[in-house]
């Protein structure tokens, strides 16, 4: 251990929990954004909050960059290591410290898997609402860092809407404890500010999450349309009706083709788009609302509308939807997923322009999106073995992002800026606004050691190299949403 920092790290952790050999570090070089790869100096595997605090304080003392990492599913490269820095992996801090059904809260460590929270709460009739598609593998710590979303954000909000309390170690080594079991708060909303910090403020150690009673009843309809526009019009009609569905999702023809190939999903024939709408609530409310929804869908000229008749059919509809992203991997050796947001009324226009740009660039583009909140996920298909293909795909992705911002939307609905979109931050925020964010970052991290090189445009990026799908993604374990 020649590097002086390694000696100091070795004082904090036993050798089996401090990885330094190249073959050990290889697994941590990349995250869900596989186009980037960077070998860290070391990977630290703490098992307790105190160990995390000690690690961060050491990093502060040595001005050693650190990157917190959960399951490494970030699609924006948020957990990409920093050269010469340490990756602090939090998977072993995976305890649900408290489950309090009476107060409808869970207190969890950052390495707890998203679905574990709902699984633990289910016996009490409760659930944890944020459901990113990678929920079976992604961690709550990562969800907090990137303010993850999912398919139910219009009605239930994103991760930040469900974080009631946070104990965290900031990049200065200060340990803070904000909020708690109450859904209300006195004073500035520190939990709100911390959630979505992209790892630039510090590391969450204990997170108090709000749980909600599981909806008693669901009504899920899958409707196929000849054109994407018709599907978009159906969404507009549902919104205008005053209904508030739990989820509204659209898949285009290419995404449907992928889902059929991957999980043998069955869709109405000759459709350019499929819309999924789901109502949820007490059975009396759902049975009143479903009559209206069924009328609206019937009036929207679908090729066919299929309401799920039972729980099994409902799960099949969602399985097809959730599989769509990794399934696209069957259509193309490589793909990039984007995460822009447009005002909902401009969805049709946005999709038309994505189609045009895709044709101009000669790259196919599949679309899966959260139609209820205007969150697009264009999947740009390319073959990384062809020279220049990745660069063309990146260029197309950039054009799509700029279009989203120009339409009055956002660069990212739920994946975060990370490494991937940092060069586009100035398209959405002025230089003064970015300076304000940098001052905030410096308040939490004056040395710039916490996840440096992310969110802000700058010179610290590693060279763009192509590496293909993440092995777990190829296996269909993680999903890009």
């Amino acid at each position: 251990m020649a590097h002086p920092a390694l000696q100091r790290l070795a004082e904090l952790l036993p050798p089996e929990r401090l990885l330094v050999q190249p073959q050990q570090l290889a697994a941590y070089e990349s995250d869900g954004l596989t186009a980037f790869r960077q070998r860290p100096l070391a990977v630290a595997i703490p098992e307790t909050s105190d160990e995390v605090i000690a690690l961060v304080r050491l990093c502060h003392e040595l001005e050693l960059p650190f990157v917190a990492r959960g399951s490494g599913t970030s699609l924006s490269g948020g957990s990409l290591p920093v050269a010469g820095g340490v990756v602090i992996t939090l998977n072993r801090l995976n305890h649900i410290l408290k489950l309090d059904p009476a107060q409808r809260i869970a207190v969890v460590e950052p390495g707890v898997i998203n679905t574990q929270v709902t699984l633990s709460a289910a016996p009490h009739g409760l659930h944890y609402a944020p459901d990113p598609s990678s929920q079976s593998i992604c961690t709550i710590g990562g969800n907090v860092a990137f303010n993850s979303g999912g398919a139910h954000c219009l009605k239930y909000g994103m991760t930040s809407n469900h974080v009631l309390g946070l104990k965290a170690v900031l990049a200065t080594g200060e340990v803070v404890d904000w909020g708690g079991a109450s859904r209300e708060n006195v004073g500035p909303d520190w939990c709100g500010l911390f959630t979505g910090n992209e790892g630039l403020f510090g590391i969450a150690l204990e997170i108090t999450l709000q749980l909600l009673p599981r909806a008693e009843c669901f009504h899920t309809v899958l409707a196929g349309y000849r054109t994407l526009e018709q599907a978009g019009d159906a969404v507009a009609a549902v919104i205008a009706s005053g209904l508030l569905p739990g989820a509204m999702e659209i898949m285009d023809a290419l995404a449907l083709e992928a889902a059929v190939a991957a999980v043998h999903a069955e869709y109405p024939p000759d459709c350019e788009a499929v819309l999924i709408v789901e109502l949820e609530g007490p059975r009396e409310v759902v049975s009143a609302d479903r009559v209206r929804l069924d009328e609206i869908i019937a009036a929207s000229s679908p090729v066919e509308a299929r309401p799920a008749r039972d729980a099994e059919e409902r799960l099949a509809i969602w399985k097809g939807r959730r599989s769509a992203f990794s399934a696209v991997g069957r259509l193309s050796p490589d793909f990039i997923v984007q995460d822009g947001v447009v005002p909902r009324r401009r969805l049709g226009e946005a999709l038309r322009r994505i189609g045009e740009m895709s044709r101009e660039s000669g790259l196919r583009c599949a679309n899966v999106f959260h139609a209820g909140d205007g969150n697009l996920h264009p999947l740009i298909l390319f073959d990384g073995r062809q020279p220049g293909a990745l660069e063309r795909a990146e260029a197309l992705a950039g054009k799509i992002l700029k279009m989203c911002v120009a339409m009055g939307g956002s660069l990212t609905g739920e994946h975060g800026i990370g490494m991937e979109k940092r060069d586009y931050l100035p398209d959405m925020f002025s230089a003064e606004e970015i300076d304000c964010m940098k001052r905030l970052r410096a308040a939490f991290d004056p040395l710039g050691i916490a996840n440096p090189g992310k969110m802000f445009p700058g010179p610290e990026a590693p060279a763009l190299t192509h590496h293909g799908l993440h092995p777990l993604e190829k296996a269909g374990v993680i999903f890009r949403e």
Partner: protein
């Protein structure tokens, strides 16, 4: 209270901030303790009106001094509402004041409070820069979530100029039930069971009388009657008429139950604190509390200003925190932890201390 400065445009507001060494923004003054600091007052009341409203997007942007009642009326015309259920609407409270006070009403029980519906802010920082944070769409994860930080920030970090909110379609109908419990323990049990039920209540409050629980249902009218019957089969009580319910919720919204001219506080609670908190209030002669949002927040009206010290001590013992909205009492009560980061963030947004600190 006459404000020394009343800018009539955002440009004038920016100029006023730049040319005033120490100031705090004030809206309609419905929560006067929050800005009772000896610095120049900047009134936002001339900055009013909806800037953008897109019903199909579930979003609007309004100037900070817009009275809530104007927003509520504009949304109602399009069948939409503010799900965080703002307080002090008839009193003339403004949107900006509601945000920096962090004040939500009983309806926050269903979908969340101010923090859960704020999407973007435009504000002037301590250096007089006009900045935007957040995004004007219902889903956004770009940049730090400063809009949420402003909720409850008491105008100490900047002056809001425009605010963007998410809204929802207004439920077709509402039905309020009132049930009674004999003891506070029984009350707490009802709150817990009702909150965890399948009914998806719109509001769940313990009234200032200390024994009546109000449960509000919202949704298609056909469904509400059947849900109400099930609730009333579980606990004795009755359905309120629409007129009765309107009076009841208006009394709570406008703090008509509170002593006039005496301290009124907001206290953040957890449902598990309800019994001990209720006993604390009962021990203060004449003090009243409205426990709202299923036991997640309480509004406390003291019967005498000198009761504050006893309340403060009890809140600390219970590890609860409060903020005084009006009346002659210290701003903060209960537990408060000093953190270095609080000062560092203050310095990042207001390095010249143009706005008071949270300690002032």
């Amino acid at each position: 209270m006459s404000a020394a400065l009343t800018p009539a445009s955002i440009a004038e507001l920016v100029e006023a901030v730049r040319s005033t060494p120490q100031l705090i923004a004030v809206g309609a003054g419905t929560k006067p303790r929050l800005s009772a600091v000896n610095v120049t007052k900047l009134s936002t009341t001339a900055l009013r009106g909806l800037v953008e409203y897109e019903p199909s997007e579930f979003t609007f942007t309004a100037l900070t001094g817009t009275p809530l009642r104007e927003i509520i009326a504009a949304l109602a015309e399009r069948g939409q509402y503010l799900p965080f259920d703002p307080m002090l609407v008839d009193a003339g409270a403004t949107l900006g004041g509601t945000v920096v006070a962090g004040l939500s009403g009983p309806g926050r029980f269903r979908f969340g409070g101010v923090r859960d519906f704020i999407l973007a802010v435009q504000f002037v920082d301590g250096a007089g820069r006009l900045l935007r944070m957040g995004g004007k769409v219902v889903k956004n994860a770009a940049g730090f979530d400063l809009p949420k930080f402003f909720v409850g920030s008491l105008g100490r970090f900047g002056v809001l100029t425009e605010i963007t909110f998410k809204v929802f379609p207004r439920p077709a109908s509402r039905l309020t039930l009132k049930v009674e419990a004999n003891t506070i323990e029984a009350t707490a049990r009802i709150l817990t069971e009702a909150a965890n039920s399948r009914w998806e209540l719109d509001a769940l409050d313990l009234l200032p009388d200390g024994s009546s629980i109000c449960l509000r249902l919202a949704g298609p009218s056909a469904a509400l009657e059947s849900l109400a019957d099930e609730i009333l089969a579980r606990w004795p009580g009755r359905k309120l008429t629409e007129a009765e319910a309107d009076v009841l919720w208006a009394e709570l919204r406008e703090f008509q139950w509170a002593h006039t001219g005496l301290p009124l506080l907001k206290v953040a609670l957890a449902p598990g604190d309800v019994v001990a908190f209720h006993q604390t209030i009962a021990a203060l002669d004449g003090a009243r509390a409205h426990i709202s949002a299923g036991g997640n927040v309480a509004f406390v009206s003291l019967a005498a200003a000198d009761q504050f010290a006893a309340l403060d001590e009890k809140l600390r013992a219970l590890q609860l925190s409060g903020v005084t909205l009006r009346g002659d009492a210290p701003l903060w009560s209960g537990t408060r932890t000093a953190s270095k980061i609080s000062h560092a963030v203050k310095a990042a947004l207001d390095s010249e201390n143009r706005f008071p600190s949270l300690d002032d």
